[in-house]
């Protein structure tokens, strides 16, 4: 009998690319034998060692699956003009998540919650979360995510641990001082939960690497303390369609929100532009109560876990504001801005931009002045004073800081008193302003310039740089 066999795409390479092969056969077994006679490789694809059709291959006679027609191919009789079609089985699926006995026990308090169950725990194990920063917020965040069984936790940081970190960064021990934070963090988190993967990214997050880095993760958790990184994380998340669980802290206050541009506003909807440099001090400048990042970072971990589990109401379109002194949580509604530069209807930002320029902080000192601010290094200042120049050094830190340490010969003029006492200074004189690092000096600089002081500059790095590089006998804080 002359019959046709229709060949599907994946098998055509065995028959010279033909879509259809004509053979002479009395039954289906003979037809297949004739087909594979010149192509042993095709035979291996279709038949097992015993010559039986493999179970991931289907053969149709007309519209009938031959398996349904007869127990063996030999029993399927053919007549002239019959058409056989080979249909390769198409199957697949997502990888399976399995738990060991130990893991079942480890996560048992999750597994018995109807909102989590084994299914939710599998979601946690499959999830990939990228934490930006392994500091005050990153400590509780990564600890709780690791304990909860989040399968892949990426951490971006490049700092080494110093003694000032330990007042709040509970991920580390005193013995870790001087070590790269990532190294110590990975060690600690792996000790806590050896079943998960900790991926360390020792790098400065930048416009060049953010998209590539974020690509591999489902959720990004931003725990940075500076505006350029915050805007970069936001924009990269919007561009990639990833949720950004955001938190920030200052002294006694903390903020948390979830920015997911596909479902709500982004950080830029709330703050289209950063505040002027120096207006908002960092933790290093302004201080922070050690327990505060513990509270806020834990809330951040909570929102990450809720997003993964898909339970509850995520903090989308809402900013939660915690005031530790009053012990009050306030909630602000955040609207999506239809004109937002990155997530609006006609975005102007379609790729990461230069965030240092956007936030007006450039120069050798990472937190030194903006482009129009005149700065002087501690070395230059020291050199000129040694050479006998009479330089006015204005210490604009508050009294409680001056009590810790001072640069000899400085004039104390707390920033909070500067506006009312500015007349005590001579606007024709030259002043160098210093604070703890650089942040508040920028504010004092602007104040003095606006008041008509023509010769003002900022001591880059403040008393901290002085104690580090000029007078090592002074304590740092």
């Amino acid at each position: 009998m002359a019959v046709s066999i229709l060949i599907p795409t994946p098998l055509r390479r065995y028959v010279g690319g033909a879509k259809r092969v004509e053979v002479e056969a009395l039954n289906a077994e003979e037809a297949v034998a004739a087909l594979v006679a010149n192509s042993p490789d095709l035979g291996k694809q279709l038949l097992d060692e015993k010559g039986v059709l493999r179970n991931f291959v289907n053969l149709y006679l007309g519209d009938q699956n031959v398996r349904a027609l007869a127990p063996s191919l030999a029993k399927v009789a053919l007549k002239d003009g019959d058409v056989l079609t080979i249909v390769p089985a198409i199957a697949g699926g997502a990888p399976e998540v399995k738990f060991s006995r130990e893991e079942i026990l480890r996560y048992s308090r999750h597994l018995i919650m109807p909102e989590v169950t084994l299914e939710g725990q599998k979601r946690l194990k499959r999830a990939k979360v990228l934490c930006i920063g392994a500091g005050g917020l990153g400590s509780p965040l990564t600890l709780y995510l690791a304990a909860a069984g989040v399968g892949t936790i990426g951490i971006v940081d490049f700092d080494t641990l110093d003694l000032t970190n330990l007042q709040r960064q509970i991920l580390y021990s005193t013995a870790d001082v001087g070590r790269p934070k990532l190294e110590a963090a990975k060690e600690r988190l792996t000790e806590l939960n050896p079943e998960i993967e900790i991926v360390t990214h020792s790098l400065h997050l930048s416009s060049w690497n953010a998209l590539d880095l974020f690509q591999d993760y489902d959720i990004v958790a931003d725990g940075t303390d500076n505006f350029p990184t915050r805007y970069l994380v936001n924009d990269a998340c919007v561009l990639l369609g990833k949720p950004n669980v955001y938190a920030s802290i200052f002294r006694f206050e903390g903020q948390v929100s979830v920015f997911d541009a596909s479902r709500g506003p982004c950080y830029r909807c709330m703050f289209p532009e950063p505040p002027p440099p120096g207006l908002v001090p960092s933790c290093a400048e302004g201080g922070v109560l050690g327990v505060l990042p513990g509270i806020i970072g834990s809330l951040q971990a909570l929102e990450v876990l809720k997003l993964i589990l898909g339970v509850g109401e995520p903090l989308i379109g809402r900013l939660s504001w915690f005031d530790a002194l009053d012990f009050q949580f306030r909630e602000l509604a955040v609207q999506k801005d239809p004109n937002c530069a990155v997530c609006g209807a006609s975005p102007t930002i379609t790729a990461p931009v230069d965030y240092e320029a956007f936030c007006q902080i450039r120069g050798a000192e990472p937190d030194a002045g903006g482009t129009n601010i005149s700065t002087i290094s501690v070395e230059d200042f020291h050199g000129r004073r040694q050479a006998g120049e009479a330089l006015n050094l204005l210490d604009i830190r508050e009294d409680y800081e001056s009590q810790i340490v001072q640069i000899p010969g400085s004039i104390r003029f707390p920033l909070s008193e500067l506006p009312s006492r500015i007349h005590e200074l001579d606007s024709s004189d030259t002043y160098t302003v210093h604070c703890h690092k650089t942040g508040r000096s920028l504010e004092a600089y602007q104040l003095l310039r606006k008041a008509g002081f023509g010769r003002v500059n900022v001591l880059a790095g403040g008393i901290d740089a002085w104690a580090e590089r000029i007078d090592k006998s002074l304590p740092r804080y």
Partner: protein, 151 residues
């Protein structure tokens, strides 16, 4: 490894694929891709897709099986409309759009495989793969939209 070949996926077809994958969440969605090109000498051009029922008997949240009867119909449709069955798409609910070992073990050389990640009901990354000639590994192929933008 052969040089990855590009594919063209019109925005309307992509939108249809995403809708299907989202509608089937939390189960896996699957379906056939029709069009022209072979992915080696000429790019795959997807012109049409057809949603298939997921006939996997055990766990449709992480497995799919295209019914052979559906495939036969798909082959006939391709023949009647002068197209080819280029390959198949499926979704990974709450999982990245990367082929699993199970996907690889069940894949056929020459077919185009599209995998769409659906996170909590929202379709996210959509990636295209084809098996390398030895059948040992998936090769990623760049997906192009109608407008020519690389995804």
């Amino acid at each position: 490894m052969t040089t990855p070949t590009m594919i063209k996926l019109p925005a309307a077809v992509e939108a249809q694929l995403r809708r299907h994958c989202e509608a089937q969440f939390p189960n896996e969605a699957c379906g056939a891709l029709f069009g022209g090109g072979d992915g080696t000498s000429s790019p795959w051009i997807v012109t049409e897709l057809s949603a298939a029922p997921n006939e996997h008997g055990e766990d449709q949240k992480r497995r799919y099986l295209v019914p052979p009867d559906f495939q036969l119909k798909a082959e006939k449709h391709a023949q009647a409309t002068d197209q080819e069955v280029l390959g198949y798409y499926h979704s990974h609910p709450d999982h990245p759009a990367q082929p699993s070992e199970y996907d690889r073990a069940h894949a056929w050389f020459g077919y185009l495989y599209l995998i769409c990640s659906v996170q909590q009901g929202h379709s996210m990354d959509l990636n295209a793969f084809t098996l390398d000639e030895q059948g040992g590994a998936f090769v990623g192929v760049g997906a192009l939209s109608e407008t020519g933008q690389t995804k």
